[in-house]
């Protein structure tokens, strides 16, 4: 199962990549929204693990662009923001699920499994 991580925080990105690889996911990690968008449009992934706060193009904008381009892969967004407006905006942009930071790794894995085993949206 292929997962694309878009996370600008080097430490957290590296941790997520290492942890998910240990769970035997096929993981790729990019550090910017632009790179994530290009990679998700060019290649096939089973899930996009997307950070909200990214330089220049943020996670919400990446999700919006993907949905506009007809890309239907499940998007799980990680966010340190939890205001109602932020969450609503993210969901409106086409994000399938949100996880607030800090999160439990086991819960993250569980959420990834559920999202990837659910019938494809649309």
């Amino acid at each position: 199962m292929r997962i694309l991580i878009v996370e600008d925080d080097h430490k957290l990105g590296a941790l997520l990549q290492a942890g998910l690889r240990e769970e035997e996911f096929d993981v790729e990690w990019v550090k910017s929204g632009e790179e994530g968008l290009a990679r998700a449009l060019a290649e096939r992934y089973d899930l996009l693990l997307l950070d909200y706060m990214l330089p220049k193009q943020n996670g919400r904008e990446v999700a919006l662009e993907l949905r506009r381009a007809g890309q239907q892969l499940p998007i799980l967004m990680l966010t340190a923001r939890d205001s109602a407006e932020d969450l609503e905006e993210a969901l409106r942009a086409g994000v399938n699920a949100l996880m607030g930071k800090p999160f439990r790794f086991a819960e993250l894995v569980d959420r990834i499994v559920r999202l990837t085993s659910a019938p494809a949206p649309g």
């Binding site: 925080d9 957290l12 950070d51 923001r81 439990r104």
Partner: protein
């Protein structure tokens, strides 16, 4: 003690009006009584003159036809002629034959003077005029003319009653009118208070609109709305702080949690545990830095922190800050020429170092690797000027005003790359504590220039900074 303004004003106005009306009534009553008495006196005098003429011409006074007691009182004129002993020798009516005598007034009349007095006769108040009879009227000596005061008193009582009734009605009307006036005057205030009461925190752009078109209230409403606008800004500012602080706390906590979880997820090698602990320690340091920055900012802004101002060479302090930055920063070229004469100023070297660290960190964070950061120090008009200039993307013109605000980040989505968002705020607070000045300006064609001016302690000869990096030539001031 609280009281209702409308009711109090109405009652006070009505009482004042009532008292004023009663005073007017009493004054008018007194005046009326005086006028009536004057009229009686005038009437008595006229009667006296007519009867004296009649007596002089005919030898006797004019007599009334025989009338009963009631008619006699209505006619109300008693005229008697007395001899020098006071005995009545003539009367205009039989009923007047026992008219009372005032000996004092009688004596004055004998002496040729006319006198008016009051007395009682037949149980009634009377007003009496005594005057001398004309010469050549025989035994006649004094002409006495009297009138009952009862009709006057009855009339004045009726008038007084009506006047008091009018005053009371006036006071009552004042009460009703004042109540109506105060209610209509206070109703807008109550409406404004009702609207203000309905305004709740957290919902921006709520304003008072009631009676905003009333000229007299417009000022009050404007002041209240301006206050609401200030509260809105303050609320939004605090909301933003809580939001940003939440974010800035969560990111290192998330990393710490993930690091520890991953370390415990499976059996690890000792070096992997060490790496996890070191990584966690880094995040703890970041949280500590955030906490310290907040604490320092709070102390700076509250005035709790008193700077230890000592004569210090700003060039040396700046050079040390540049050294520290060079150790931390990779990928940027920081240019600073440390040679040159000392530039002393009364500064707290520890705090100034902190401010310079923040400026250099800020330049590093917001500029692409490989670009240059120029630092220069110079004496300028009795103060010492420090400049940090970078070649980054700069700050949009509309954002320049927010540059020194707490949690301002050029790009809100830069995450930890953007730093704490407190660096320039801290630097500004420190410079402010030194009674210095910190400003920022955009450079042409790109970049940001932060300029600090610190008051010099002693006259410093103005000099151009010959050690200023040449880079300044590449970025002329706009």
């Amino acid at each position: 003690m609280a009281f209702r303004l409308g009711r109090t004003l109405a009652v006070r106005f009505a009482v004042t009006m009532g008292v004023a009306l009663v005073a007017i009534v009493l004054w008018a009553y007194q005046g009326m009584i005086q006028i009536l008495r004057d009229q009686i006196d005038q009437s008595l005098k006229t009667t006296y003159e007519v009867q004296a003429s009649t007596l002089a011409l005919q030898g006797s006074i004019f007599r009334l036809p025989k009338v009963d007691e009631r008619r006699f009182v209505e006619i109300n004129r008693l005229v008697v002629v007395r001899d020098v002993t006071g005995h009545i020798v003539q009367a205009n009516a039989e009923q007047a034959m026992d008219l009372t005598l005032d000996s004092t007034a009688f004596r004055r009349a004998l002496a040729g003077r006319t006198t008016t007095t009051e007395g009682r006769w037949r149980g009634r108040e009377v007003r009496v005029l005594y005057g001398p009879t004309p010469a050549g009227t025989g035994a006649s000596a004094v002409l006495e003319v009297a009138a009952f005061l009862a009709p006057l008193e009855a009339a004045s009582r009726r008038v007084l009653f009506r006047m008091i009734a009018t005053a009371l009605l006036g006071a009552l009307a004042s009460l009703v009118g004042a109540a109506w006036l105060t209610r209509s005057a206070l109703e807008p205030v109550e409406n404004i208070a009702r609207q203000a009461d309905a305004i709740q925190g957290g919902r921006p752009a709520q304003r008072i609109t009631a009676h905003a078109d009333v000229i007299e209230l417009r000022g009050l409403i404007e002041v209240l709305n301006q206050m609401l606008a200030r509260l809105d800004r303050s609320y939004e500012w605090h909301r933003q702080i809580v939001r940003d602080l939440g974010h800035d706390l969560r990111t290192p906590i998330a990393t710490m949690r993930a690091t520890v979880e991953m370390a415990l997820w499976a059996e690890r090698r000792p070096d992997q545990y060490r790496e996890a602990l070191a990584s966690t320690l880094e995040e703890v340091d970041r949280l500590t830095l955030l906490s310290d920055a907040f604490g320092l900012l709070a102390r700076l802004e509250s005035g709790d922190l008193v700077p230890a101002l000592l004569e210090t060479d700003v060039r040396t302090v700046t050079g040390q800050a540049v050294d520290r930055a060079r150790e931390r920063v990779g990928g940027h070229e920081i240019r600073f020429n440390r040679s040159g004469e000392a530039l002393p100023a009364p500064v707290d070297a520890r705090l100034l170092s902190m401010a310079l660290d923040q400026l250099l960190d800020n330049a590093r964070r917001h500029t692409p690797p490989g670009t240059k950061v120029d630092v220069s120090v110079a004496a300028q008009d009795g103060s010492v000027r420090v400049m940090v200039e970078d070649e980054g993307p700069g700050v949009p013109e509309e954002k320049m005003g927010q540059l020194f605000d707490r949690f301002y980040r050029g790009d809100p989505a830069r995450g930890r790359q953007a730093g704490l968002g407190l660096g320039l705020t801290l630097a500004a607070a420190i410079i402010d504590l030194h009674r210095g000045r910190i400003t920022a300006e955009r450079r042409s064609p790109r970049g940001l220039r932060i300029r600090i001016e610190l008051p010099g302690s002693a006259p410093v000869a103005p000099r151009s900074d010959s050690h200023r990096p040449q880079a300044q030539e590449d970025h002329p001031e706009r």
